[in-house]
């Protein structure tokens, strides 16, 4: 796990807001339930998730080049965290992002994206 390299889901749109925080935009799924409900209620076409300072930091590090181990080192150094503290929080956060399919993990030996943020055609590995 520590050697794997998290990489953002290329199909997601994201941008920095005025405060320097990352906002991830998730498009509404066109299921029959949503379609039906949207006839009655207003359902926005996409929803926006704003990441906090640390979340933004992690998101920007998920470029397919930094390993989880590297990210732990960077976070523990920047926020003066004990390695274990950084590890537990980061793994939990990455797990959540992975479950929501915001990120995937490039495994050791696999090629990461050549230019982060652009479609790379790599195999998508979901953990």
């Amino acid at each position: 796990m520590l050697a794997s390299r998290p990489t953002r889901n290329d199909s997601l749109r994201w941008e920095d807001n005025d405060n320097g925080e990352v906002q991830v935009f998730i498009e509404r799924q066109e299921t029959w339930k949503v379609k039906l409900l949207s006839k009655v209620f207003y359902i926005p076409k996409e929803r926006k998730i704003t990441l906090d300072e640390v979340g933004t930091e992690v998101w920007q590090m998920c470029n397919g080049r930094n390993s989880v181990g590297d990210m732990i080192e960077l976070l523990s150094e920047k926020y003066q965290l004990n390695r274990k503290e950084a590890e537990v929080s980061l793994l939990q956060y990455l797990k959540t992002l992975g479950q929501k399919r915001f990120i995937g993990f490039v495994l050791e030996g696999e090629e990461g994206p050549p230019d982060p943020g652009k479609a790379s055609g790599k195999r998508w590995v979901k953990k």
Binding site: V54, Y79, Q80, L81, N82, K84, E85, A86, S89
Partner: protein
């Protein structure tokens, strides 16, 4: 040995490499277990127990026999290879063991374990184990760790040191609960006269205090704890940094009559004394709270703990063979 830090729990102190962190802890002063891990594997395990109420004291060798028999049984069940070397000779200098009853042994399965079983002066038996991969040798490191073992039992105050949080608390306060969440460590102690001492440490203080002052943050963050207390907060200097002195008194008894079950009181009336401060060097917020029932029984506990409380400075370049004294560090 490389850079080391203190790990101190339930009166047992060890000096371990700084990248070995507490992974699991269980039990109390009389009987318990702690495990330290590095980034990849379990590195150290310590078990302690007091042998009592068995009539004739059990010999240490019998305990080791039982422990190894148990491991052998597990290995047989799993079909794994398991070898033991009793009376192992990897310690270069055994002087530090003194005339205490002990046994040094190693076992090898998926890992190699360097073990020290020892009866401490005050009666607790400790089994200390340093684990190494089969392709590495940690004999010197294991010896340095064994040598650093100090028992604080019998002292007036015990040092506690985990994840860089380090403080000393009076020995008569027993650890009642702990919460080792990432970013928020909390240790709760209970003592006579139904008093409670709570020590918190929160990480990433700069982010927590980004949009709010410490004075405003504290009552919001601890809203639940403070719901039955009327607090007065004053700015004070703590360890050369900005801090708060908090005094709390129980809310009016009349309020209780407004509760759904007014004659049941699950939350007793308590007074509160606390110090809260932001340690800018480590970017941590520390909180020491003393809750007590009767006025006049506070005995300045908060000041005692705060004065012996520090985060940094516990990192040491260990000299091999150095026997570390705890008393000097205890407030």
């Amino acid at each position: 040995m490389e850079n080391t830090v203190d790990f101190v729990w339930q009166g047992l102190r060890l000096e371990v490499p700084e990248d070995w962190n507490l992974g699991r802890v269980d039990g109390d002063f009389e009987k318990g277990y702690a495990r330290l891990d590095d980034a990849e594997i379990v590195r150290l395990e310590i078990e302690w127990r007091r042998l009592k109420g068995r009539g004739e004291a059990l010999r240490l060798t019998e305990l080791v026999d039982r422990y190894l028999a148990n491991l052998q049984k597990k290995a047989d069940k799993a079909g794994a290879s398991f070898s033991v070397q009793r009376q192992a000779r990897f310690l270069k200098n055994k002087k530090f063991l003194g005339d205490r009853e002990y046994e040094v042994f190693t076992w090898e399965a998926d890992f190699r374990a360097y073990n020290l079983a020892i009866v401490l002066e005050k009666g607790r038996v400790v089994l200390l184990r340093v684990l190494a991969r089969r392709d590495e040798s940690l004999e010197e490191q294991a010896e340095a760790i064994f040598r650093s073992l100090v028992d604080q039992e019998g002292e007036d105050a015990y040092v506690w040191s985990i994840y860089g949080l380090r403080f000393s608390a009076p020995a008569d306060l027993k650890l009642e609960g702990h919460s080792l969440k990432s970013g928020h460590i909390q240790l709760d102690f209970a003592g006579g006269n139904k008093q409670t001492l709570k020590v918190h440490r929160l990480s990433m203080a700069r982010i927590l205090l980004k949009e709010v002052s410490l004075e405003n943050w504290y009552p919001i963050f601890f809203k639940k704890t403070l719901r039955d207390v009327v607090v007065d907060i004053a700015a004070v200097d703590v360890h050369g940094g900005a801090g708060l002195a908090v005094e709390g008194r129980p809310r009016s008894r009349w309020r209780q009559l407004l509760r759904p079950l007014p004659f049941l009181n699950p939350r007793p009336r308590q007074y509160l004394l606390a110090r809260v401060w932001h340690d800018t060097n480590t970017d941590k917020i520390a909180i020491v709270e003393h809750l007590y029932r009767k006025k006049g029984t506070e005995a300045d506990l908060v000041t005692k703990v705060v004065d012996g409380h520090f985060f940094a400075g516990q990192r040491t370049e260990a000299e091999s063979g150095r026997d570390v004294g705890v008393a000097a560090d205890a407030q």
